[in-house]
């Protein structure tokens, strides 16, 4: 079971969190015309890297904040966690 450092609550067990996918995907702006290829990329296309991956988790059984986690998808090593407003290098 992973041990995830919530930037608000500290280290907590994985079972308090739910996974939210790739954190680097940016939703096209609302009320703006979006080329359909961009939209399709946003909705459907995801990379599945082996190695470092910046992803979203939500601390559902805690502070309910969405957070960013940089994790190695092969080893589960977590390098860094951050608030969603913060950048991960």
């Amino acid at each position: 079971m992973l041990y995830i450092k919530c930037p608000y609550c500290g280290l907590r067990a994985q079972k308090e969190f739910s996974y939210g996918g790739d954190a680097t995907v940016k939703r096209p702006n609302i009320n703006e015309e979006v080329p359909s290829e961009d939209w399709d990329n946003f909705v459907y296309m995801r990379k599945s890297p082996r190695g470092k991956h910046i992803e979203l988790w939500q601390h559902i059984a805690g502070c309910r904040q969405w957070i960013k986690v940089q994790r190695d998808t092969a080893t589960h090593e977590i390098f860094q966690t951050a608030k969603v407003t913060e950048e991960i290098r």
Binding site: Y3, I30, Q58
Partner: protein
């Protein structure tokens, strides 16, 4: 009754307490502190089971977790457990043990005929024998394999025992209380670290209990006791015996299995049987020691053949002799200690040493005591069927592959030592890539992967001095980093015997024309020739060889067989062992009970139960409940001998004719506040929200970004910047996360807060033509007329003195209201409604009637919003704004969503107006068409229309709207039904929606 193999004084057992037990029906006794194994050996019993494949007689081989043979069916404390390791299970009064895998008895076993038919059971026999014909599988092959493969028998009784889970955090977890473990724990404890020391066995000390050493002028055993006593007195230390750390998981999470009370005769009602510990450790010391490996020779599985260290442990810990005429067969010095222990107990051993004549401290001592030592010697084959009687031994030539001399000598046991294998299982589980250490012919941990530090024998250090030094150093350094204090500890003076070099010898050759079975893996009956066959047939990867031969795949995980298997493969393949590699180590290290894994999560505690504040009333009034997620909802209220169909029909009819009330507390409720709340809702929902006035509710539809409908519900504007959103029961949690996602990540500039208030409000729906009359009695001072409180209106008012919210919304299609009060007032509200509603014919209705009402109105719910439908599929495109943007809008333009033949919601009625249509039925043109019959759609919801008194269903059908008036078949192969149906509008009752506005 005497115990012929019990020594007079030796051992750590309590001779003042006799314990009686039975083995295969025979009454026997042992002492407190015995294992089943030590007590049986004391009684001269060695034949305990039959082997897995060939049903060969098997006896004890080890004295602990390494035991491959002695797995028994054991009954104690009222339960029966299979595959119990007799070398680990402590004796308790009244215990009854029986042999497994033998019929009719261990002494006469029919299956042993397999032993004479062994040519039929070569490597891969499962794969080869049971290939063809396919039809033989169910009736012939599978029952045969199951019978042959059977070990013990799992109990079918309910397990009455209590099991617990515990979560723990510590600075340092030490796994194993041998010298290096004790030293690590002690040093860390002195630095003020929070330490957990886990020992698998009942007694602490590991090899200190059996080795002839002294530390600071104390015997090993006394030193261990001194350290343990001090550790126990320290508040920062938890010391646990009978506790096996069996798994090393991600982020330094280790899991431990504690046998809390299996060894106790009496225990309190609340004492668990076993406990599972989840331990998050900052650092881990792996002081798991090593396991002696055997040397392979002919008939090496005969009862009476032991690992040499096990024979010593039986003498030193249990005061038991494994035999009185021992042969010691070794390639190293450690077995000399066993020989010396025999000698001390007046038993004359003969040592067969594969090494050429040489000298070392132990050899010299054995010589000086007059022990018969034969160098360049080894056991070729053991004689005896149910017990060793003699051994054919040979003097090896220099090449160690042929014999100078062969003779047979009498013996009643053979104690074998092929050197030591570090227990690297936990290190490997943590992700550590192991490395091969030439010096000891075994794998040891390599670079740290997580926070695992292996010390002592587990790291390949086989001297006490080195083990203690590494233990103290690592315990101190690792903990000092955490506690930032370092207490100096002087490393104690050690007195131990120096071992000479071992012989890299692991398998005895055979003389020409002799071909006895030579087992590598006892538990799975894998012999040298099985591995040879696998390689001959082209298996190369060690993982493949393992699966083909089943080498190391039994419950002992090949603890005594893995390395010899690797040696064999490397010899035949002419590769060095590190090139062959090792198989993967996986948790659990030892088998653990299912009860422990489950813990307290059984029965009612399996998952949380959510009950509404009115639950007790429903119970008292014969509600039959249905699970809605964790919620319990009344499905119907049974009157007299009614069944589900009759009751729900009555309840639904009463809503259509009079008035009914329904507990709707379970609906998800989300409180939305902030100056940008309207803008937020406008983006979340497909319809327009900017102009909703205060005091009004609106029905809303939300999509996922891919255009699929996510959820629906009403949202009410309570005040300028305050909204109350409702969701379906099933989607409540997902919708909240969805809203939080957009507020926190996508549009953080919106000043809005959301919070779940599902638990805070109790809700009741009042529905039916008489609901306004009833409402006016509930709120005598309030104007509830159609003008004052119109459809989708909202009011706040006191309900008999308690604050309440009134929403004029409808799920049933009737004139209806929903009242919310604080949860604490829920029961009060409900009882008042029942009392006041009497004169209007009010009856409570459950989810089944609720479904009927919404289905015949054509109101979609979960079965239609199944994650595959877009708004136009379910006739909700009227709610999709063309003017504004919202979540998922861009996806609605996708080509496939807009083709003419796109699926649409329709209604179905059976042509005979009688046959109800099973949910999930497929709609087909021709019920007799050749398969695969093209599917035109599926039935999503079915009910008995109370309005029209015939069955009615909703269906999602290709090109649905153009099918109206046509006839099809709804077929359900599952229910073996085919019903001719006519397609009609999905709005079967009140299609104009007049009633809700009346």
């Amino acid at each position: 009754m005497s115990q012929p193999f019990r020594l007079n004084k030796e051992g750590l057992i309590n001779r003042n307490k006799k314990i009686s037990f039975t083995f295969n029906g025979k009454k026997l006794f042992g002492y407190e502190g015995d294992t089943i194994a030590s007590a049986l050996i004391a009684n001269g019993i060695h034949l305990v089971g039959r082997s897995f494949k060939y049903h060969r007689p098997r006896g004890f081989f080890g004295a602990g977790v390494e035991e491959p043979n002695a797995k028994l069916q054991v009954e104690f404390n009222g339960h029966s457990e299979p595959n119990v390791n007799a070398t680990e299970m402590e004796l308790v009064e009244g215990l009854s043990a029986t042999s497994q895998n033998c019929w009719p008895s261990v002494n006469f076993d029919v299956g042993a005929i397999n032993n004479f038919l062994k040519m039929f059971f070569p490597a891969g026999f499962y794969y080869k024998t049971f290939m063809w014909p396919k039809s033989f599988w169910y009736k012939i092959y599978e029952p045969f394999i199951r019978k042959a493969a059977g070990l013990g028998v799992a109990s079918i009784e309910k397990d009455k025992e209590r099991y617990e889970h515990k979560f723990e955090y510590c600075d340092l977890l030490v796994t194993g209380s041998g010298p290096s473990g004790l030293a690590s724990a002690y040093a860390a404890a002195k630095n003020g670290a929070k330490v957990i020391l886990a020992e698998d066995k009942p007694r602490f000390g590991g090899t200190l209990l059996t080795d002839d050493v002294s530390i600071d002028n104390l015997s090993g055993k006394d030193w261990a006791e001194k350290i343990i006593t001090e550790l126990k007195s320290m508040p920062n230390v938890t010391v646990k015996n009978r506790s096996q750390v069996f798994g090393y998981y991600d982020h330094n999470m280790l899991v431990m299995f504690e046998r809390v009370s299996d060894h106790l005769e009496k225990k309190s009602k609340f004492t668990p049987r076993q406990r599972l510990w989840y331990i998050r450790a900052k650092e881990t010391i792996l002081s798991t020691g090593s396991i002696e490996r055997p040397i392979v020779f002919g008939n090496n599985d005969t009862p009476g053949i032991f690992l040499s260290a096990a024979a010593k442990e039986y003498m030193k810990v249990y005061g038991v002799l494994v035999g009185k005429k021992p042969l010691i067969f070794t390639n190293n010095d450690s077995a000399y200690e066993t020989a010396l222990e025999f000698k001390k107990n007046n038993v004359e051993p003969i040592i067969l040493d594969t090494r050429e004549e040489h000298s070392s401290e132990l050899i010299d001592e054995a010589k000086s005591k007059g022990i018969d030592i034969r160098f360049s010697h080894g056991v070729i084959v053991a004689n005896g069927y149910k017990k060793v009687k003699s051994a054919k031994i040979g003097k090896l030539n220099k090449d160690k592959n042929s014999f100078e001399k062969i003779e047979t000598i009498d013996c009643d046991c053979i104690c074998v030592s092929g050197f030591w294998t570090p227990s690297v299982h936990l290190a490997s589980q943590s992700g550590n890539k192991l490395k091969y250490e030439e010096k000891i012919d075994a794998f040891i941990p390599d670079k740290k992967k997580q926070h695992e530090t292996s010390v002592g024998a587990a790291n390949g250090s086989f001297t006490l001095e080195e083990s203690l030094k590494h233990g103290f150093e690592n315990g101190s350094n690792l903990s000092a980093k955490i506690t930032e204090t370092k207490t100096e500890i002087s490393i104690p003076n050690v007195n131990e015997k120096k071992y000479g070099a071992h012989d890299k010898f692991w398998c005895m050759p055979l003389p020409k024309n002799e071909n006895p079975k030579r087992f590598v893996d006892f538990q799975n009956d894998v012999s040298v020739s099985d591995i040879e066959i696998a390689l001959r047939e082209g298996y190369r990867s060690i993982e493949h060889v393992k699966r083909y031969t089943t080498l190391g795949m039994a419950t002992d995980q090949g603890r005594t067989s893995n390395l010899n298997g690797l040696q064999l493969v490397s010899n035949i393949e002419n590769k060095i062992v590190p090139e062959v590699g090792h198989t993967t180590f996986r948790p659990p290290f030892t088998p653990i009970t299912i009860g422990t894994i489950v813990g307290r999560e059984v029965g009612m505690e399996y998952m949380p139960t959510r009950k509404t504040p009115m639950h007790e009333w429903h119970e008292k009034n014969n509600a039959v409940f249905v699970d809605a997620g964790a919620w319990k909802r009344p499905r119907y209220y049974k009157q007299g001998s009614e069944n589900l169909f009759e009751a729900s029909k009555r309840e639904a009819k009463n809503v259509r004719e009079n008035v009914g009330i329904c507990d709707v507390t379970t609906l998800g409720k989300i409180d939305i506040k902030g100056p940008d709340a309207a803008e937020f809702l406008n983006r979340v929902y497909t319809n327009a929200w900017m102009k909703l006035p205060v005091g009004k509710a609106r029905y809303g539809l939300m999509l996922r970004e891919d255009g699929i409908v996510m959820d629906d519900g009403t949202t009410t504007r309570i005040s300028e910047n305050h909204y109350h959103m409702t969701t379906t029961t099933a989607q409540a949690a997902n919708v909240l996360s969805h809203l939080e996602y957009y507020l926190q990540i996508v549009w953080p500039e919106l000043n809005v807060n959301v919070v779940s208030t599902t638990e805070q409000w109790a809700g009741a729906a009042i529905a039916g033509p008489k609901s306004r009359d009833m409402l006016s009695k509930l709120y005598p001072d309030l104007d509830v007329s159609n003008d004052a409180l119109p459809f989708m209106g909202y009011k706040e008012a006191e309900f008999f003195g308690v604050p309440s919210r009134i929403f004029r919304i409808s799920f049933s299609g009737e004139l209806a209201y929903e009242i919310n009060v604080k949860s604490d007032h829920g029961m009060f509200m409900w009882e008042k409604m029942m009392e006041v509603g009497k004169e209007f014919g009010n009856q409570p209705y459950g989810t089944e009637a609720l479904s009927t009402l919404r289905i015949e109105m054509g109101h979609v719910a979960g079965p239609e919003l199944d994650g595959r439908t877009i708004p136009s599929d379910v006739s909700l495109n009227g709610l999709v704004s063309k003017k504004k943007d919202f979540i998922g809008k861009n996806s609605l333009g996708r080509e496939a969503f807009n083709v003419e033949s796109r699926q649409k919601i329709v209604g179905l009625i059976p042509i005979d107006r009688k046959s109800s249509i099973p949910e999930g039925s497929h709609i087909v043109q021709d019920q007799n068409a050749k398969l695969p019959n093209p599917k035109l759609g599926h039935v999503s919801s079915s009910c008995w229309s109370v309005e029209n008194n015939n069955p009615f269903s909703l269906a999602i059908m290709k090109d649905g709207k153009n099918m109206i008036g046509k006839k099809f078949f709804a077929v359900s192969p599952l229910k073996n039904k085919s019903i001719e149906v006519e397609v009609i509008s999905s709005h079967y009752v009140d299609p104009e929606g007049k009633r809700v506005r009346s």
